[in-house]
């Protein structure tokens, strides 16, 4: 799986001319699937996440959210090509068990995708496909944060923040977890198949920090700010569910049993989480809601992400259901108790769901619980502790650096619109546009 993957990149980069019996060959089936998976993950951001968020904000801010997600897609794509892929996946100097700079972040050897050829492979797929596939992960991680600062952050500050954050927080996190032997969290043995830590906990913690630094929306929590169009939110959630198969099953980087099982467990966990949130909401509030159902599904998708390469269907049921119930409390009771204004519950669903999933990944990877099997000599408790270490590292890394980046950006640019501008609405104030001219 991923271990072969990055070993292969290093091999190719180091000595492409050497013909070996282990030289990877192109698999049309794998390539076809990964091309599709890439498209599916892009769909998750545009328009999946975009619509999910757009429906949740007030009418006067609908365009601002769409603008932020779409612009992040464009900007992060460019950054990825310029140096993102390089910082994330270049492996020079990485050595298993050795902690050096390369354990934390790659270098600029592959800047501007230098060395990329039409025929070069990563495992059994063209490197170009791998580059684009991973690009879509970087995109959605940054876009997720938009939810926490919606309806009050200035667009320019957001763009600058996005560029700095993806560079300083996302690329190193992805490198530490996914670039192979020598990566800090890879060597630790953290299991994170598709990005529970790298994407969800990372974005979720950054979101919480951003929500706290920016402060509450004017009038929160006493003024009613109901979603202006939950139909968009449900459409967005549906696109997220469907697109996520690219996210999880695509992380197998092959059209094989691993991808098949990843797809199955993703479906199972998502369904269980949706049912879980719906059930707990029904019990507590006496009526189930469509927003709850959709949110539950997203929580399940988040939680199964790290486990999708290692757990079985039974484990997926537990992971999903647990995420659905726990995230319900995080997004409702916890949020109100702690009084932060994470407008669209990025922390409650992505951070909390990611943490639940990351920890349970350690449990359900065990063969006795239907999983793929833990590393030689490792117990469930041992793996769970490693997962916890991975979670703690991610929380600290993301939290601290996000705070610093925001403060730095805030020194140069205003982070937040003025109260009058906030009243008027970001669409008109920042973009001279109206979402609806009815």
């Amino acid at each position: 799986m991923k271990k072969w993957l990055y070993g292969s990149i290093a091999l190719l980069a180091a000595n492409a001319a050497r013909a070996q019996s282990e030289t990877p060959t192109l698999s049309a089936g794998d390539t076809a699937w990964m091309l599709v998976a890439t498209v599916l993950v892009l769909l998750m951001t545009i328009p999946g996440l975009s619509l999910f968020y757009a429906g949740l904000v007030r009418t006067k801010n609908v365009l601002s959210v769409l603008m932020q997600c779409f612009a992040i897609t464009a900007v992060v794509s460019v950054i990825w090509v310029l140096y993102g892929y390089s910082l994330t996946f270049s492996t020079t100097g990485m050595e298993q068990g050795v902690i050096n700079l390369a354990s934390f972040v790659g270098n600029f050897d592959r800047a501007m995708l230098s060395g990329l050829t039409r025929d070069g492979l990563v495992l059994s797929i063209p490197e170009s496909v791998f580059v684009t596939f991973q690009m879509t992960f970087a995109i959605i991680t940054v876009a997720l944060i938009v939810g926490a600062i919606a309806e009050r952050m200035r667009f320019a500050a957001l763009l600058v923040f996005a560029i700095l954050w993806v560079t300083i927080v996302y690329f190193p996190m992805a490198h530490m977890v996914w670039s192979g032997n020598g990566g800090l969290l890879w060597d630790l043995g953290v299991i994170d198949f598709a990005g529970g830590t790298v994407v969800h906990i990372n974005a979720g913690i950054a979101a919480l920090v951003a929500a706290l630094v920016l402060g509450k929306r004017k009038g929160y929590p006493n003024t009613a700010m109901p979603p202006h169009n939950l139909t968009y939110t449900v459409i967005g959630a549906s696109l997220l569910w469907v697109g996520w198969f690219g996210f999880n099953a695509g992380s197998a980087v092959a059209a094989n049993g691993s991808a098949g099982m990843a797809m199955l467990v993703t479906q199972v966990a998502t369904a269980a989480a949706a049912v879980g949130w719906m059930a707990i909401e029904w019990i507590i509030h006496k009526k189930p809601s469509v927003l709850g159902l959709a949110s539950g599904a997203v929580a399940g998708l988040v939680a199964i992400t790290p486990a999708s390469g290692s757990c079985g269907p039974g484990g997926a049921l537990v992971i999903g259901f647990a995420a659905g119930v726990i995230c319900y409390f995080a997004a409702t009771k916890l949020k109100r108790a702690l009084r932060y204004d994470d407008s669209l519950d990025v922390f409650g669903v992505h951070a909390v769901g990611g943490i639940v999933g990351a920890i349970l990944t350690g449990v359900f990877a065990d063969a006795s619980l239907g999983g793929i099997g833990l590393a030689e000599g490792r117990s469930i408790a041992g793996q769970v502790w490693i997962q916890i270490e991975g979670v703690l590292f991610t929380v600290a890394y993301s939290g601290i650096l996000t705070f610093i980046i925001l403060k730095l950006v805030g020194l140069v640019l205003p982070l937040r619109v003025t109260p009058d501008e906030e009243n008027e609405g970001l669409d008109l104030v920042l973009h001279d546009e109206r979402g609806y001219n009815l």
Binding site: P221, A224, P226, P227, H285, K287, S289, L291, G292, S295, A331, T332, K333, K335, R336, D345
Partner: protein
């Protein structure tokens, strides 16, 4: 002349329109409004955040009538819009100083 303005429950609009044509009213203006009186609002819940919504959707109908028709019109509206429950609405009658038909320039009674 009088301007009759009525706030009614939205689903009653068709009944009121029919009743008005039976008393000879040929033109009315309808606006969607919201408001409250004695009828209580309702609560909505979004991810644990509960909102009390005081305003209820209503429909406002307005029509200009000649003086001797006013009572019949008010009566027709009241009967058609009535459900017997709180929130049925109110009818207001104003004095109307002038009416002009834009197309022809006819005034007052000739414009109604």
């Amino acid at each position: 002349m009088k301007m009759v303005v009525a706030i009614i429950k939205p689903f009653k609009l068709d009944d009121v329109r029919e009743a008005l044509s039976e008393v000879g009213m040929t033109g009315i203006t309808v606006t969607e409004v919201k408001g409250f009186g004695r009828q209580k609002g309702h609560t909505e819940l979004y991810r644990g955040a509960e909102y009390v919504v005081d305003f209820l959707p209503k429909v406002k109908i307005e029509m200009a009538v000649v003086d001797d028709r006013a009572d019949a019109v008010v009566d027709a509206i009241r009967k058609a819009a009535n459900t017997g429950r709180i929130g049925d609405g109110k009818i207001f009658v104003y004095n109307l100083d002038q009416v002009v038909r834009i197309r022809t320039g006819e005034v007052d009674g000739d414009a109604l």
